[in-house]
Amino acid sequence: MTYGISINVNGTQHTNEVESRLLLSSYLRETLNLTGAHIGCDTTSCGACTVLLNGAAVKSCTLFAVQANGATVTTIEGLATNGELHPIQEGFWEKHGLQCGFCTPGMILSAYDLLQRNPNPTEQEIRHGLAGNLCRCTGYHNIVKAVQYAAEKMSS
């Protein structure tokens, strides 16, 4: 059985008929061709599929697209404005916050949520704030530096 949904993704309203069991991650990747949210573990552990749902970072593999009906979703593709990187994206560039890049979209969107709630986090708070995102390259050190760079830039 299909259901009509209407979701604002990165500023564009999308209206689709979807199966109830379609996950938000699959909807974004396969229906809208937005492949920035990655499917890593597919078991609510790794955070590679993180997106912002009404501004809060969530694991898009763990909710159905129908649950997001009427919501506003931001994926990594929607973070830069007019070709200008968001300060968090810039931080990952400047501080070499990625190696293979698989976890990066999720890391950036989790960091976005963190900095919204806590604009000047300590190193410890950054590490706790990113606890839902795993980096298999283990590049956490520079990821923390990237978030610190962004926090500084965003508060200046």
Partner: protein, 294 residues
């Protein structure tokens, strides 16, 4: 991973949700934050034919002061419990435990009611409910019912909820004067589920004697359990001499926190290790509760 097919309903009131639940009975599951149910559906451990999403019922998400304590809507998210000044002041152990659940992404979706109704043996909040003496209020087409936390956790993934009932509110009684509450756990490094978690509420008299103690243990057994032997060893005993905490009394009481628990054994921890962790964490939270009760 793809779940089985299901019909999806998104009621906007508790009454409407209760009617749907009565209509579809066993073939339906209630969807709260979905962070236990959706993974179970993806691995096909759960294959409900009907999903009733409570996420659109705005009246189920609230934190209010009530009778000096708290009334919390079942659809209140962990992140809101963790950051609420009202919860921090009226039920410190609850705010503390909510902030330790899984990770921030999960806490943005997971709900108090979802966690309690699922009754995962390694969930954090059941222990806190036992220590705080919470009352769980249900809604159904037949009206409301109140279940004491002590009667709610029946067995592994099994609660005192009837099949037609929706857990709608969690009532936390007012803390008596000079009461401290605390929660601590030894979490699994990957999932942060409690291998053992302990919550305590301790009320002291002006001279530092324990007037009331409630201790809840999760993770150790198939369900969250009151550590009644520990409570008995604290009640009536002096836990504070001036500013000095009586370590001996607390240690002796904490040593019995695993008594009566059907200690589980799995790849994460042996029964013996869980028994050890139970005493260690009971001691820590009782000390913390006593220091907060001053």
């Amino acid at each position: 991973m793809v779940t089985s097919s299901f019909d999806y309903h998104a009621p906007t009131s508790v009454a409407e949700a209760a009617e749907l639940l009565t209509r579809f009975g066993d073939s339906a599951k209630l969807l709260a934050g979905g962070h236990s149910l959706v993974p179970m559906m993806k691995s096909r451990l759960a294959e409900p034919k009907v999903l009733i999403d409570l996420g659109r019922i705005e009246s189920m998400a609230y934190i209010r002061e009530a009778d000096g304590g708290l009334a919390i809507g079942a659809m209140t998210k962990y992140v809101d419990l963790e950051t609420s000044d009202l919860v921090k002041s009226k039920a410190p152990a609850l705010a503390q435990a909510a902030g330790m659940i899984a990770d921030p992404l999960v806490r943005n979706m997971g709900t108090i009611g979802g966690s309690l109704a699922h009754a995962d043996p390694a969930a954090d909040l059941p222990a806190v409910m036992l220590a705080l003496g919470a009352r769980l209020i249900t809604s159904s087409t037949g009206g409301h019912r109140t279940i004491e936390a002590d009667d709610f956790f029946v067995d592994l993934l099994t609660t005192g909820l009837r099949p037609d009932e929706i857990l709608s509110e969690i009532a936390i009684p007012a803390l008596l004067p000079r009461t401290g509450t605390a929660y601590a756990k030894f979490g699994n490094k990957a999932s942060h589920f409690a291998i053992v978690g302990v919550a305590a509420s301790v009320t002291l008299s002006p001279d530092g004697t324990c007037e009331a103690a409630r201790v809840g243990v999760t993770g150790a057994g198939p369900k969250a359990t009151r550590a009644t032997e520990t409570e008995a060893l604290l009640n009536g005993h002096r836990l504070l001499h001036g500013d000095q905490i009586d370590e001996d009394v607390i240690e002796a009481a904490a040593a019995r926190a695993g008594a009566g628990v059907d200690l589980q054994e799995d790849i994460h921890a042996s029964a013996e290790y869980r028994a050890h962790l139970t005493t260690v964490f009971a001691k820590r939270v009782i000390r913390e509760a006593v220091s907060r009760a001053k």
